[in-house]
Amino acid sequence: MKSMTTLSRRSLMAGTGALFGLAGLGISSRAALAQGTALRAAITGYGVLNTLDPARASLVPEFYVIWAIYNGLLKFDDQMQIVPDLAESYELRDNGSIEVRLREGVTFHDGSPLTSEDVKFSLERLLDEELASPNASKVAVVDHVEVIDELNLVIHATGPFAPLLTFLTNARTGTQILSKSAYEQLGPDGYSRNPVGTGPYKLTSWDTGTGLKLEAFEDYFEGAPALKTVEVPLIVEEASGVTALLGGQIHMTSTIPTSDVPDLMNNGNVQVLRQPGLNVRFISINLQKPPFDDVHFRRAVSMAFQREAMVQTVLFGEGAPLHGFFPPLLGDYYTPGENSVTSFDPEAAKAELARSRYAADEHPVEVITWGGGWWKRYAEIFVAQVNQVLGTRFTVGVTDSNAAFARQTTGDFVAGVWGWLGFIDPDEYVGDILHTDGWRNMGKYSNPEVDALLEQARAELDPQKRAALYHEVEAKAIEDMPVIPCFTSNIHNLLAANVQGFTQKPYANFGDQFMKVSIG
């Protein structure tokens, strides 16, 4: 007994000493990330990828990786112009159909050559009802794909559909081209985790919840990528992504918490890439429930808060106020300047409220939001401002994003914060949100005139005429205030000082740049 107790105490002490000793040993053996051929590019803010099958992909991080593994028929260049990718050339016919000639000599990761059959298979598969692809709407207008020969094909459309070219790019579209033979061999579930594309990188391992490893595809049609391996860790906490990069564990991140941006801009050891993003943030309201079934109430609320103050407090200045449905980056489609119903004007707001059939505090309004970050702050700033100006008694309801989304899609809400990101075609910002039959029209807005204009715009292939139609849509719809536009946020990437060659695009690109990156 005697020896046992003495021993246990001593050994515990010795054990502690050994632990500290070992910890000390580790320090010298672990060097920071040096230059070389391996890139560690972390996806921050997300911990989950379900699939790398483009037809089944829906989450942003899934596309981050898909963009490295696949190509689309088309792509956006650094100036955001649509250019051929797997297509060598293409021609849009007046009836909406597209003639495509494929590049010669393109091979998939499994060594098989790219043919028209693979394109037909990839696109028509999206329409397969059995698959229930979340990206089916992107090619809903496609009737069938006609194979002319090995390299020539025609995508037949049921009618002119302006967004189709955008939807065929290697962006957040799901229309990336995969190997028909690999898919048939592996089956849907097998393929989902063992993707076979034509892109510059192929998947070598995928550890659920931890990250993925990619390896350069030596036979890539634009030449073998310089960086031979890319590790893509999944870092759920954005703040942890920043500390990981500052600590030398990773080379780049896909996002930065907006609150950290000012500090990081002044840090000479890192590079902050930032630019206005293709996204909109609005207050989603239920037009079928009081008080938001009254147009004057909706307009009053829209005039009762300062959007600029929101940008400063919610995003730490990393964004811009939004007075319409389109982000400024949509160029011709965006209407610059303010308008009377989306400008802060307390007197006008109160006057508008007086015309409403509801008193300020007649109906309780819970603005649903989620988490503890800026989405929550967004709801709080909105509610505080509106309550102060109008004397309403709005409250903030905090839940998680899945619940917030579920409640809005099923109509079980009065108001909530919401927004879309990464969409490139104007139709994605208004078509599904404002059209009576739009499946993202969560507030159930319906205006026959707006519907007619939206359908006309969707079928208009001339960009100028199309832009004019969307201006008309916006001018009409904003008076009804179907959703309350608030702001658009900047997008960010954090890079270590020695990383070069990453070109940031406004739809928040990622994996498509791996092959252009070098580590100095």
């Binding site: 910890a23 320090i27 979340p134 579930d189 998680d400």
Partner: protein, 338 residues
């Protein structure tokens, strides 16, 4: 009846021993049974809670572009359109056969048991590391404080304990990262090294997360240890031992420390469940692919099978640890099992 029977009094020793054995068996059986009931009730509560919560795995998988048709197809494919009780019984039937099913929304289509096979050892390693650190720290602080009662050393040690209890683990994690990772550069700020691949590396990379989990436990342990040591010091048998002229060090080790061990171990056993809570947060911050992150993702993305598997595993661990603590205390103090 037999106990009060004076006639059988002479031959009582044998049946008494049997009775004791029987009682112990009953005790063990009862514990096992209550553990099973606990697991059953726990899984049912989680099942019903998730069913009642708004949101669905379909929305997690199909994302914001989910059309109602796609959501319906997803739910049909995974049997989520069945009545709740039918779903639960189906799950239970498979779970009893050791099949936790496949993940719905955080690793679509993958076997949960194979996912857990890689995640559970990670968390157990981190938990054990944290426990060792907590015990080591508390032995130093607790014994030091008790032996220097009322002096500056005691005040310092006790203040450190209070600090340990008051600091939330997520905040402490970032403080540790900032100080030891970014400023001093001694430890990695993020990431995980498997102990099966590189043990020194794992101890090095795991030090900050383990310390973040260990800090509040170490504080509780050392306060408890200090209190029971001080209490034991005033016991008559300690005074007697001293009066025999035994050396203070000998008295401390054999009379004071040994007797203080039981309440100390009991507290350790009770606190282990908090490791599981700490793990959930700390794994996230340091990017450790363990059960904690797995469970949190499962909850946020409504992956019911994953959540159930994690809950049952955590419950089983808590039950196991409690039983082990009981056994260890019985071993240290044989009076307990009588």
């Amino acid at each position: 009846m037999s106990q009060s029977d004076p006639v059988s009094g002479g031959s009582r020793s044998l049946p008494a021993r049997e009775r004791a054995g029987y009682r112990r068996l009953m005790l063990l059986g009862g514990k096992l049974l209550s553990a099973l009931v606990l697991l059953l009730v726990g899984s049912l509560v989680v099942f019903l809670t998730i069913q009642a919560a708004p949101g669905s795995a379909a929305l997690s998988v199909l994302g914001e572009q989910a059309t109602p048709e796609a959501v319906a197809a997803f739910e049909r494919r995974h049997g989520l359109d069945q009545p709740v009780l039918v779903q639960y019984l189906a799950w239970l039937g498979n779970a009893l056969r050791g099949d936790f099913g496949v993940s719905l929304s955080i690793a679509s289509g993958q076997q949960i048991s194979s996912l857990m096979a890689s995640k559970l050892p990670t968390t157990l390693f981190l938990g054990a590391y944290a426990l060792v650190l907590a015990i080591a720290i508390s032995l130093v602080l607790g014994i030091y404080a008790a032996r220097h009662r009322g002096k500056t050393g005691d005040t310092v040690a006790t203040s450190i304990s209070v600090l340990g209890i008051s600091m939330p683990d997520f905040w402490l994690s970032y403080v540790l990262i900032f100080f030891f990772g970014l400023s001093l550069g001694w430890f990695p700020t993020y990431g995980y090294v498997s102990p099966f691949v590189d043990l020194p590396g794992a101890l090095h990379a795991g030090f900050l997360p383990a310390l973040a989990i260990a800090a509040p436990m170490a504080a509780v342990f050392s306060r408890t240890l200090r209190a029971v040591l001080l209490e034991t010091m005033t016991r008559p048998y300690v005074t007697a031992a001293r009066s025999f002229g035994l050396k203070p060090r000998f008295v401390f080790v054999h009379f004071i420390f040994r007797n203080a061990l039981i309440p100390y171990l009991t507290i350790i056993g009770l606190q282990i469940r908090y490791i599981l809570g700490g793990v959930v947060v700390v794994e996230r911050i340091f990017g450790i692919p363990g059960m904690g992150s797995f469970m949190v993702d499962g909850a946020f993305l409504r992956d019911l099978p994953v959540l159930l598997a994690c809950t049952v595993t955590f419950l089983a661990i808590v039950v196991l640890v409690n039983t082990l603590t009981d056994a260890l205390c019985s071993f240290l103090d044989p009076r307990r099992s009588r």
